[in-house]
Each structure stands twice: as C-alpha cells, then as structure tokens.
Symmetry: C2
Subunit: 137 residues, 2 copies
Amino acid sequence: MGDTYAIDPDISREDAFAYWFAPKNHTYIAEAGSGILGTYALRTNRTGGGSHVSNASFMVAPAAHGKGIGRAMAEHCLSEARRLGFTAMQFNFVISTNEHAVRLWKNLGFQIVGTLPRAFRHPGKGLVDVYVMFRTL
Amino acid sequence: MGDTYAIDPDISREDAFAYWFAPKNHTYIAEAGSGILGTYALRTNRTGGGSHVSNASFMVAPAAHGKGIGRAMAEHCLSEARRLGFTAMQFNFVISTNEHAVRLWKNLGFQIVGTLPRAFRHPGKGLVDVYVMFRTL
C-alpha cells in the first residue's frame, strides 16, 4: 500500500471514486467473465497551451497481476489517446522503485525525461527518486 | 496572453478565482498603498508519499513588472514553504521561452531536472519545450 502512487493510502472510498472517475477523465475498465481485471483513466495533462499532451493512470486487480493486463490496457490507452487527438503522453510521477512500471513504459516507447530527486517517501525504502516519462504519439 | 501558464486563456473569472484560491492552496497577496502588486499560491505538489514536496504559482500585476516583486514573493514563498514543513519545491511546468522566470528560478537555487519536449503550444512561437524545476529547502 502507498508504494506506487502519490495518493494518501487512507483516501476514502468516495474520494477515490471521485478522483478516478473525475469528469475530465476518460475512464476504462478491463473485465473478463470472472470480474474486473483492471482500470485506467486517460485525461489531458495540462489545459490551455499544454492540452495536446495526455496523461494516464493505471491499476491492475491484485488477482490479475502478471497476466499482461497492464500492457494490454496501456496499448489500448495509447490508441485511445491518438484517437482523441493527443500528440503525446506524459507520466508525471513514476516512482523509480516501481521497476515493473518503469520497464513496461520503456518497452512501450516512453523515455525518462526528468528525475525528481527523493520526491517520494516510500513506505519501506524511505525517500526515493521519481521519474517523469514522456513519449510522442 | 496564454504564453506563461498552461491554463485556458478564456477561463472564466469564477473558475480563475476557484483555481487560485483552492482550499488546498496557501494564497498570498503582495500589496502597496497603490494596490495589488502580485500574488502567489503555495501548495503540496502531490499527496501521500509525495507530500513533502511543495509547488507554487506566481503572478505579478502588469503595472508592477520589473520591480523585483516576483523575486520578493518567491523568497517569501520559499520561507513560507520551509515554515510549513516542506523539504523541497517543484515547478512542474516552466515554459522554456519564459526566460525571465527560468533565470529567476535558477538564481533562487532551482535546477532544471526535466525537459518536456514541445509540451506547450506558445501562441506566437509554436510548440516549445517545458522545464521541470526543483530545489531542496
């Protein structure tokens, strides 16, 4: 808990839903007969002169980890972002110790364009670096 | 208009006030006998494990440009951020063509820790790079 997103782990159920399904978000659910496998939210990263750059957040259900759901959602997300007219995608806060995510984003064409020194207090590892990752679409 | 912040230049007066005076913000006003010289908003850049890093936005009244108001507010802001317990400050979106701001932040100890390629559509210059700037407190 609290080791992948800069969100208060004690966020209420209501606030979590409001955050994930915010009106500005395009929110998607990956599901199979057995239930929900994951979800992602796609949005404009900045308004005004920055509105051509998209941003997205992903969550995979614990029972569905290791089955390629994250990659499948990410590929769908990149496709949706292009369809919506975005010309780039930016991740603002990829925690460096989240090696699985960093590797996946690199495999999908993202580059580390910035490093925020010790910008995340990891519950087990203390202060760790955070990456800003970016790719054009 | 629209060449320094990634905010829709057509934002309504109400939305602009709501943005600047958001409940999560510490908003300050610099004033003299003659009126308001500038304002800044100081806030947590991220919640949860990122909450030790602050963020701030600044505006100087057009009639007060070139009088050191920006620098004075920035120094006050860094002091306030320390007083509130923050251990770093991050600017997420410093437009590279805003040379005055880039120079001021560098003079005040900020470093460019990331470059977002062509992430801002400048009204006169087309797509230009954007910097992420950071300093510890």
